[in-house]
């Protein structure tokens, strides 16, 4: 009787030994801890950054001939630079003439004041600097098609990284007296370069 028990114990020990040896030399998948102290491994991957700009919705200002038509609100521009590329970057804008048939409001009659309210999203580092603004310039080859030279809305050092908004930008649009009434259309382009 005792001999039988001893043999079973020996065989059981053999099984345990083989299992332990196998566990030691053969790769396997991790198993949940049986004790009360558990842990969770983490393998996090930070993906590549991106560069983008998002413009506000279209504007529909009502302009009066013979005046400067100041404070035309442009809305809030959002832009993102998370490239972390060690290089300074900038956000600019251009405008074409605003045209109605053969009539045009030239971009050289437009000036822009960049908004001074610059905010960063969660995790952003640093804050861009608003541009100084000015009058749009450039050679107007084809009114309504040719864009002005770019004007700086904001610049940032390489260490400024994240998601930002710029609010409060305005335009003044001088409409010469005698400009025919009507609907004038054009394009404002926002560009982020980095």
């Amino acid at each position: 009787m005792r001999e039988g028990v001893g043999a079973r114990r020996a065989l059981a020990l053999t099984g345990v030994t083989i299992a332990a040896a196998a566990a030691a030399v053969l790769p396997g998948k991790p198993v949940a801890a049986a004790s009360g102290n558990s842990s969770q491994s983490v393998t996090a991957t930070v993906v590549a950054g991106t560069l983008t700009v998002t413009a506000p919705p279209a504007i529909t200002p009502t302009l009066v001939p013979g005046t400067g038509n100041a404070n035309v609100a442009l809305g809030t521009v959002a832009f993102t630079n998370t490239l972390n590329d060690g290089s300074a970057w900038s956000v600019t804008m251009t405008s074409t003439d605003w045209v109605n048939g053969a009539n045009a409001i030239h971009f050289t009659d437009m000036s822009v004041t960049p908004g001074l309210t610059l905010g960063g999203g969660v995790g952003s580092t640093g804050t861009p600097t608003a541009g100084t603004g000015g009058t749009l310039s450039g050679t107007d080859g084809t009114p309504g098609t040719t864009a002005s030279s770019p004007l700086t809305l904001a610049t940032a050092a390489s260490t400024v990284q994240g998601v930002y908004t710029q609010a409060g930008s305005t335009m003044s649009v001088t409409v010469p007296g005698g400009t025919p009434t009507g609907v004038y259309t054009g394009t404002i382009t926002y560009t982020i370069t980095g």
């Binding site: 700009v53 919705p57 900038s90 030279s149 400009t179």
Partner: protein, 333 residues
């Protein structure tokens, strides 16, 4: 209002788009100048809560990028390099873009920007050729758009800036063209003289469940950007080649002072024996010189440790069991 007509047109044509892609201008000239100043009749809202698209260099994280930009040091006379820009669509709807090269211009107030859409390029923008000038990116996906930069024959040495421009596009009957652009700087240095020097190594290997994983660093210690291909050659103890493994990923370039790491996997390893592996890198400047670099040999040994240890463990266990059984019997006797 044209802007409303445009929305209707887009909705009718099924071209559903986010409205915050650019800023269309629809100005009304009032007939009676009663008020001296009239601001926007409809205050514009803020931009959408998140970006709709984004751009980045395709080789980010795969090779050394100067400032993570497209930076190329190339000789004059037809040298070229291939690269790609990745355009991501963060929205739930497809977005279309125009992709092109452009010269860089200074902006009023201190910034820089690519030349305006439609402007004729004369320098770096003219050296660039984009594979797909128009792309549509599916919702939540990204598209890699290749391009080449080729330096003209008579181009004097120097550094020149341009950009690869990704402009979101739309067409509509109302004539309002809404536009935003994201531009990655392209920095081209045209060299007066070329010194192509490539270095490979050390070759490293690691045995994993699916085979021997090789990796090797490729360094550019010259002054010119090069592209390269490479392979790992494995020879047995007699010097016979038993495997030739191409190194990947392909299409990489290395800027001067930069490094790229390429890998290969040798599956179907022998159960035991010895082998020697070397990596060979073929570097070249398109339209220019080429060079070859060979890594130091890596000696490999194969032995079925798991099998042998398992058998040994089993034998030990059996011996222990026999010993215990015998002792029990002796005790019983």
């Amino acid at each position: 209002m044209p802007s409303r007509r445009r929305k209707q047109t887009l909705a009718q044509s099924g071209l559903r788009r986010r409205s915050l892609l650019g800023i269309g201008v629809c100005a009304v000239i009032a007939g009676a100048p009663a008020a001296p100043v009239l601001a926007a009749s409809t205050p514009p809202a803020a931009a959408s809560s998140g970006p709709t698209y984004g751009v980045r260099a395709a080789l980010s994280g795969k090779t050394t990028l100067n400032h993570n930009h497209f930076a190329y040091a190339l000789p004059a006379g037809g040298a070229s390099v291939g690269d790609a820009v990745v355009v991501s669509n963060f929205t739930a709807e497809p977005l279309s873009f125009a992709v092109h090269g452009a010269d860089m211009v200074a902006a009023t107030g201190g910034g820089v920007a690519p030349a305006a859409e439609g402007a004729q390029p004369h320098q770096v923008g003219a050296w660039m050729a984009v594979a797909q000038p128009s792309i549509t990116v599916p919702p939540g996906r990204e598209v890699s758009d290749p391009f080449t930069v080729t330096v003209p024959d008579a181009q004097p040495a120097g550094e020149f800036l341009g950009a690869v421009v990704v402009a979101e596009t739309s067409t509509d009957a109302g004539g309002v063209h809404l536009l935003t652009r994201a531009a990655l700087i392209v920095d081209v240095t045209v060299l007066p003289s070329v010194r192509l020097v490539a270095a490979a190594g050390p070759l490293q290997g690691a045995q994993q469940h699916d085979g021997e994983h090789f990796s090797v660093d490729v360094d550019n210690t010259g002054n010119v950007l090069f592209t390269f291909t490479g392979e790992v050659t494995v020879r047995d103890g007699s010097g016979n080649a038993v495997a030739t493994l191409p190194l990947g990923p392909g299409g990489l370039y290395v800027i001067p002072g930069g490094r790229a790491t390429v890998t290969a996997v040798w599956s179907g390893l022998p159960l035991w024996g010895r082998a020697v592996a070397t990596a060979t890198i073929h570097a070249r400047v398109t339209g220019g010189p080429s060079a070859t670099a060979v890594s130091a040999p890596l000696e490999l040994g194969f032995f079925p440790w798991a099998l042998v240890l398992g058998v040994l463990a089993g034998l030990v266990a059996m011996l222990v069991a026999l010993f215990l059984i015998r002792r029990r019997r002796q005790s019983a006797a």
